[in-house]
Symmetry: C2
Subunit: 84 residues, 2 copies
């Protein structure tokens, strides 16, 4: 079994209105230290073992569904879990 963590973030040159809204809200709560906020997605997947290569499988899933590669970047960590 594998536990996979996928991080999807907006590319650097893409505007992030949600992040700007959060920044504004933090400023209005007097957190004036905040200079920038970028919001992305964090996904935790549990995968069963199969014949397919796990790294390729996760990359495939990211490219096809989990991330929109036109405007988003992704990275992932794969951790193998031994079920006892």
């Amino acid at each position: 079994m594998y536990k996979v963590k996928v991080y999807v973030t907006l590319r650097e040159n893409v505007l992030d209105p949600q992040g700007n809204a959060v920044k504004g809200a933090l400023h209005s709560l007097s957190y004036h230290e905040v200079q920038d906020v970028r919001i992305g997605k964090f996904m935790e997947l549990t995968l069963a073992k199969s014949d397919r290569d796990i790294d390729e499988l996760v990359k495939d899933m990211c490219e096809k569904l989990l991330a929109n590669t036109v405007i988003e970047d992704y990275r992932y960590d794969i951790e193998e879990v031994v079920v006892q």
Copy 2:
């Protein structure tokens, strides 16, 4: 300057309809290895230095705005960046 990464995830006993939808979509794309998907948020904040303690500041922001602690857990990493 600090770069702070905040991870907000749904608590374990809270249903995740968005995660279930993604799981269904992955299955329909023939990724039958996928057993579970949980979706959370990933936020990257840039903070200026101030008199306030950075750890307390971030915790405060999470409790007050970034996470809904009734249904969500959060964790964060703080990295100090030296501007040259």
